[in-house]
Symmetry: C2
């Protein structure tokens, strides 16, 4: 009989919801997180506020963590990685490497919730000068500043007068091998644009985009608000080059709505970097022999079976399965909890 | 002790997944569907293929139905409506009206999965001439034809030579009171465009859009395929009027990328109608006293709690909560099953 009914790998939104769900159904959970603390990307990357409701990221994720921290059915192992696996569900032996060294644990079922990493805009494309110019930063760098309650030009420490976002950096880009749309960057850029305008009412903010993908209620909650209340300028266009002129960075490209070339000096350029499978997702796909699409773990059954993988007893949730917003991650975490518990019930395994 | 642990209202993708999940966790389910058969919109509106993988809608939904049909824990009631409710979870009395008349049943928890209805393009906006011109049809009318393996001009029964889709009909439209983006119409129009091009290789197909919202892998799976393999013409533009000239309909508007007015004769114009809360969703919101946003049932906790409503024991899944794609509906159905079972477990109610 396994020590843990379900091993949840990854302590971000999907993993936290999955762990809580499994325990709420009466099954034992071991939650393994590689980082020192739970919360996933919103915490590890210092997000300021979450889309679309602009709730404080630390508080919101803190509440998710708190709900599972004192649950006697949940064993939380931070600073711990999954390094090996043998056997098959419901009789898996999983090797963990944590602060106390290596240990082998048994598990009946596994939920992989190892998430994404942000595209590195210097690694695969040089066109935006991310490592060259101090004032070219990313969505993530911006979150860190916003979390600290400020927004400044990195090169001078002063408030910028003109800022732009460039969408689809590392997304919808077949040349670098990332043909997918990362789903959330339009919303996050627009949220950050609103936050910058709130902090710096004199700063002009532009967003260069291909399509603004503010699906569902985000259209209303974020997109219109940004345009009407916060006067964010949305420019449909393609940016081809970023250069330096004096102490500013110059964005060159084409405004496709106006049909003319643009060349605008900016104090800060923010690259809206997309999602790639995280290192953990790549490793878990390999370890558990899960087929993947573009490196993200595949679920079987397409749209009608979102968390079931081709390996019995192994489920996937959140951005480990592809670009996902918080709603996707939480719904999938809940669905994976149900599937894992149902799998164990069928196998007649329960440690209560 | 309640006769059914969980009452699932609605037999579409979300409700089917919810019912299956609850039963897989060992709880009794009563699944109530207003229509004569299960399957929800994909079946009731005669969808041909599902987005994004183009699987046959009847087969795919048939598999979902089949999985629950012989489950002894699931009591399926078609042609049945919920007409009243009293008490509160976990001791609810729910009045049903079915083929055999009215009956009262007890339930511990409820999952509302009553979905959406398609925007009626003749009801609130006259500009597209839907009820005026035979050759102006909707995405749904098109699905019916595609399901029958054909695509013809309704006015003549002949194969069209030139067809266009108009996006965002009844969506992103504050004048008619539908400010939300319906999330799936870009994908569905593009899928139908591909299907038309497969059936009629000589027919030119255009899609007039504001933003093409092909998020996640749809970008790769549908959007690029449509452009490159099937030569569908995507035109960023605003359509302002549809008139008649001879035996064709003329689409007038502006191509915003080229910055010029367009006036193109079409054999068939397809309106990409969006999602509105269904009549059932409106009724259930009222009956169970669930707060709503634009008529869709609100979940509490925003992005981090997608299926929990403000009323204890009552959960929501799928398009009843807002525009949703199939993945959203299935993940939410699974998550709602987990929450409902966990709610009953906590209340110590189980009829096994």
């Amino acid at each position: 009989m396994p020590e843990s009914n379900v091993l949840v790998i990854g302590g971000g939104p999907a993993g936290l919801e999955a762990a809580r769900g499994v325990a709420d159904l009466g099954y034992r959970v071991k939650l393994v997180e590689k980082a020192e603390q739970l919360g996933g990307m919103p915490i590890l990357a210092d997000y300021a506020a979450l889309t679309p409701n602009m709730v404080n990221a630390e508080e919101a994720m803190g509440e998710m963590v708190q709900r599972i921290e004192n649950d006697e059915l949940i064993d939380i192992c931070t600073s711990t990685e999954v390094i090996g696996v043998s056997g098959s569900s419901p009789e898996l032996q999983v090797s963990l490497k944590g602060p106390g060294g290596e240990e082998d644990v048994q598990a009946g079922s596994v939920i992989v919730a190892t998430g994404f990493q942000h595209f590195d805009p210097g690694k695969e494309t040089q066109m935006y000068g991310y490592y060259e110019f101090d004032d070219v930063i990313t969505l993530v760098d911006t979150e860190k500043m916003l979390k600290a309650g400020k927004f400044v030009r990195p090169s001078t420490g002063e408030a910028p007068k003109q800022v732009c976002f460039i969408q689809c950096v590392g997304s919808r880009d077949r040349q670098i091998g990332n043909p997918w749309c990362s789903k959330v960057c339009c919303g996050i850029a627009t949220k950050e644009a609103i936050e910058i305008r709130r902090l710096l009412p004199d700063c002009r903010v532009f967003i260069f985009y291909i399509d603004m993908r503010m699906y569902g209620f985000w259209e209303d909650e974020i997109y219109w608000q940004a345009q009407e209340k916060y006067k964010v300028n949305f420019i449909r266009g393609i940016v081809t080059e970023i250069t330096k002129r004096g102490d500013q960075v110059v964005v060159k490209g084409e405004d496709t709505t106006m049909g003319r070339p643009v060349e605008v000096p900016m104090d800060v350029v923010i690259l809206s970097v997309g999602m790639e499978p995280s290192e953990g997702t790549t490793k878990m796909a390999e370890l558990f022999q899960l087929p993947s699409t573009h490196g993200f773990i595949e679920s079987i059954g397409g749209a009608l079976n979102t968390v079931v993988t081709s390996v019995p007893g192994i489920f996937v949730a959140g951005a480990a399965a592809g670009p996902a917003d918080l709603e996707d991650s939480v719904s999938m975490g809940g669905a994976a909890a149900m599937k894992a518990a149902a799998f164990l019930r069928k196998a007649n395994l329960r440690v209560a």
